[in-house]
Point group: C2
Chain length 81, copies 2
Amino acid sequence: MKVTVTVMLKDGVLDPQGKAIGHALAGLGFAGIGEVRAGKVIELDLAETDPTRARAAAETMARKLLANTVIERFDIAVGGA
Amino acid sequence: MKVTVTVMLKDGVLDPQGKAIGHALAGLGFAGIGEVRAGKVIELDLAETDPTRARAAAETMARKLLANTVIERFDIAVGGA
């Protein structure tokens, strides 16, 4: 079962990577760009076939390794392409 | 209007970061983990209010800066939280 974990910096935490992307886009001539936030996605292919347990497993993984919950928040999407 | 661009390595392109995450999870005792792929998300806050044009703008940004289309594919999601 495919599980996608999206990790973003929490609102209020300074995001230099996002800022750099915003500046680069402005430098390329794109206008009307407000805040830009950068994060990461981790696609996991789990042997678990029960969606609820797959989500629970992914949440434990996110808390233990994938996200730094002091400064980052994460979302989990189960299934899908 | 919020636009989310998700950039992943194309299938078939070696993903050392994903492999490292997979190994680290196995080392932490998680079992039943198949392939792990890592990618990035960029959340853009655009002044554009028309979803079609916002998507088109984000696609141009992705092609010009956010993704390396030789080895990466990207998805664009318009609106949402």
